[in-house]
Symmetry: D3
Subunit: 160 residues, 6 copies
């Protein structure tokens, strides 16, 4: 693992993916399990539909976490799902440098997240949850919020 | 419904599709439910993965049956799944005329099914289950069985 | 539509399904759109992955609502998604009679929902959200909560 | 069907959805079938993965067309896929009024499509294929093209 | 690999996952291929729908097996599917200790499988195939069978 | 890596799989991204529908490439998608020996690709794109083209 400043671009080779196949648990439980895993520190959790033996529609749970969280995640999976086994393998993650800016809009300042590759901006995106909150508070379609924010981002010189 | 001879091409407007969303039943139960529905006379049953509220991976069960079987199917769905409601709507089915031929192969005669549109052959296919049985019995890859059968079909003049 | 008492078994032929294909909207917006539609009175909203032209992974939004809510739902779809058209068709829903009972557990009384077909109990299920809350409050695996509740349900004579 | 000017908002009740379940045709053929159906006038064609009997991963083909194209579409499906039957049912489509504007950008004028509900703009989107072409021609990330175009749209007064 | 008694909890690092992308084989063949792979000793086989190039709906076959079975599995995949290449990577599996108990029910004794993490019971489940058989034999909804069995499990002291 | 002649059977352990989860990019962009990645030398690119947090239908992009192309692929993913991180892990690919033959048909010679395992033919398939071109040029159903070609392949002695 390359030492790096907080939010700096880096390559992390201390990550692991855990996988579990599930065909004996109801879908409503799995929404709850996802919440528990995120709360316990999972970097990501997601489900894929799979076709299992005996005509069973199943779910493949995939979870990304740091190696140091592996045991904690395994324990939640064993306690909260119905599985008798979990599998995992190491992987490497390349993360961009992240910067957070504020952009003025008619609804106040909102956060814009940028991703940088070798010091060059390759990603620019307003924070979704803030945009959603503006849409809710002002009863505006989310599309209209984004249109205004993209205009504001484009007009701000200091963003480029 | 247009009267028609057995296996004749026809348009059937006495069919119905039933749908149920399921997020509180394990996948292994659904393999069993599918079997029960086919045994009771469903024309087709199939599952689609769906994304339901509260992050729940769910299953959409779809079932095709004749209107006269509607009540029987509803009862099985209510008794064997966890749903409190089923929905349905009528649909029309256009079915081709079907003919069944025998084609000689090194493993004996096998059935070939043909579909005819306005009296013209548009589908020709060996019966899958018979091919599978040959592959099993003779320990041959299924591909090899199909290759031989396609050759036999092509060489039979009376098929065209 | 057959007149019926609240929660009584009935067949409702004033329902409609709306469908929209979406390939030009991010997934994170769709989580929000689902919330808006439920809040506005949709009976159900769910997503299915679809393969669209030009190699585009898309989403099929399906929505169930009463005919009287059709226009409200269409307006939300037009304002909050990116679609230029929505399609819909009528369908019939058969809903079971619903009863709500209380069952005593070590964590207090919890609600059990029953579904009845022709006056006969065919569904019995504890309310998921209450079970989840117990699991959270007492830091117990959800499985353990369900095991206790199934035992309590089985032991209550008045449930059968 | 309500008479309407070209591109005007309207409700079309002369549409039909055709469905076919397929478990005996390779995926590569289905990419080709989709092309043929669009070329013959289908309004939309899309695939959904389904779980069919005997552990078979299948595909549900869905096709939207006008009633007057129904027979043409059925014939293509019978000739080009392996099915022995197709099913269909009528549906209604509500389409927005569509307007096409030109917006000036550093790469020339590009088309912006607008959708109007009761005369009010609810959709605004640059034509994807034109944006893609600019990205290709100038070797710019597509994101950058969209950012510039959203800025140009926002700054054009006559768009609002 | 940690040496372990039969059915004891252990971590197995001699496992491998094989993957194959398939877009030129019919779905009905894949149901058969799954059977062959299980019969030859695969620990698990499952399918995921994928979107491949040229608008092709494809299938991702995933297979888990021990390293010592790798060559046998590869040979079946090459002989029975249409692929020209398979890929694979090692992974680790953490399996719980498994115990099998008998619980008395009105239909006779049925098997209950338990999973143990560090000697503590975290999984308890009746054997699905036995429950299904009771439901079939006695023409009872599977739900009713499970309800009775959960009650019996809860009442047996020696299970806790 | 075992040295091998062009198209010879070999095991390649210099391959890598890259994965990206996407919930903030429209599906139509992803069709374009797939094209860019193939043009830049990806061995394969495919999408899987996934269920992500907050009820978001997302897409898992998977990409196979040689280790020497890893950086080029990562750069395209960062520039052309919206992700702030990509993950990857090495894998091994076993590829069959490939041979290309010509088979005479009524529409001219077409290419047949064969795959060989330990020198034995296990795969035989006409080139899909050539078959498709014949179907287009001669306005014949693709099925009919394949039937003729399978017959021609079967009759050619030198293919076996």
């Amino acid at each position: 693992m390359i030492p790096h400043p907080p939010n700096g671009e880096h390559i992390d080779d201390q990550m692991v993916k855990i996988e579990v196949n599930l065909d004996d648990i109801p879908g409503e439980w799995l929404g709850y399990v996802m919440d528990l895993l995120f709360e316990a520190g999972a970097n990501d959790v997601f489900y894929t539909p799979i076709y299992m033996k005996k005509n069973r529609p199943g779910i493949l749970l995939q979870l990304l976490c740091s190696l140091e969280n592996l045991n904690k995640m395994k324990e939640i999976l064993f306690r909260e799902t119905t599985t008798l086994g979990v599998r995992y393998y190491p992987l490497t993650v390349h993360r961009l440098e992240r910067k957070f800016l504020k952009v003025a809009t008619e609804w106040g300042a909102i956060t814009v997240k940028q991703g940088m590759l070798n010091g060059q901006i390759v990603q620019t995106a307003p924070e979704f949850e803030e945009c959603k909150q503006i849409a809710r508070t002002h009863s505006i379609p989310l599309k209209k919020v984004y249109e205004q924010i993209w205009l504001a981002i484009g007009q701000e010189e200091n963003l480029e």
